[in-house]
């Protein structure tokens, strides 16, 4: 039978391997989206908090919820903490965007190689059935 030719079998195995890699890349991409969504939400929340903190007079009381305990915080310290968190989250978002770009490039090139393999297999199979 035409489909049992070893060359075609090799190509099909290769195709499977490439397709697996492609689906892993796609899973990674969607995970990246998830994490970026989380970070974006946190960034928004922290920016809101910073705005509120900046509106306060210097003698206002600020408390932080640590577990079940409300602990009095220094206003300047609270502002600095929130700012640091905002910086950290922004840096993480940037890093993730770079990773996403990489993964999308990899995904596109894998898609191409999968397509090429499929075409090769098709031509070989149709070639066999014609001869």
């Amino acid at each position: 039978m035409a489909s049992s030719s070893p060359a075609i079998k090799d190509l099909q195995r290769d195709l499977e391997a490439q397709a697996n890699i492609l689906s892993k890349i796609q899973k990674d991409i969607s995970k990246n989206h998830q994490v970026r969504k989380q970070y974006t939400i946190q960034l928004g929340e922290n920016e809101l908090v910073l705005k509120e903190l900046d509106l306060l007079k210097e003698d206002a009381n600020v408390y932080k919820l640590i577990g079940p305990v409300l602990v009095k915080q220094d206003l300047a310290e609270a502002r600095a903490n929130v700012r640091k968190r905002i910086e950290y989250i922004s840096a993480e978002l940037k890093r993730l965007e770079g990773t996403l770009q990489d993964m999308e490039d990899k995904q596109n090139s894998k898609k191409e190689s999968v397509l090429k393999l499929q075409q090769k297999i098709e031509t070989l199979q149709s070639g066999k059935s014609n001869s």
């Binding site: 929340e45 922290n46 509120e52 600020v62 408390y63 919820l65």
Partner: protein, 152 residues
């Protein structure tokens, strides 16, 4: 005028797409519309909660100091107590931070947040209606194409 132009060019794009592509595009658009409507619901819920908070504040500000009240310790356990200074309120601003403010500042905070949510709501409503009209267009064109395909 610009919106109409954009809708027309989108329609032309859809005419060019194949049946499969159009089906996929319509499903995608429907998904987006659903997501946006979920967001709308979330915003409405949040705004309602803020309005409840604002009403509670308003009520609290009318109560005199030293008034007898029942303090909830759990959902079904209340203990008698007296109202202390009702001029200071603690506001949860997010990420675990609480800010002590006066009653007036507290009311102002609630109003500010409610206004912010209202403007967000209006923005999302706009985007949702645009997306919905595109999705409906896609549906119409899809049906027309299906009819064409079945008669030919």
């Amino acid at each position: 005028m610009a919106a109409k132009g954009a809708a027309l060019s989108a329609a032309r794009e859809m005419e060019r797409m194949s049946l499969e592509q159009l089906k996929a595009f319509k499903e995608q658009s429907d998904l987006e519309v659903n997501l946006l409507q979920d967001s709308l619901n979330n915003i409405r819920t949040a705004a309602t909660r803020l309005e409840l908070a604002s009403a509670a504040l308003q009520d609290l500000s009318l109560r005199p100091r030293g008034k007898q009240m029942l303090v909830p310790l759990t959902a079904s356990l209340y203990v008698p107590g007296t109202l202390d200074d009702a001029d200071k309120v603690l506001i949860d601003v997010g990420t675990g931070y609480f800010i002590e403010k006066t009653m007036d500042e507290g009311k102002d905070y609630c109003n500010r947040k409610i206004n912010l949510l209202k403007s967000n709501f209006d923005e999302v409503v706009e985007v949702t209606s645009k997306k919905k009209s595109i999705a409906d267009e896609a549906g119409l064109i899809l049906q027309a194409k299906l009819r064409q395909a079945s008669t030919s």
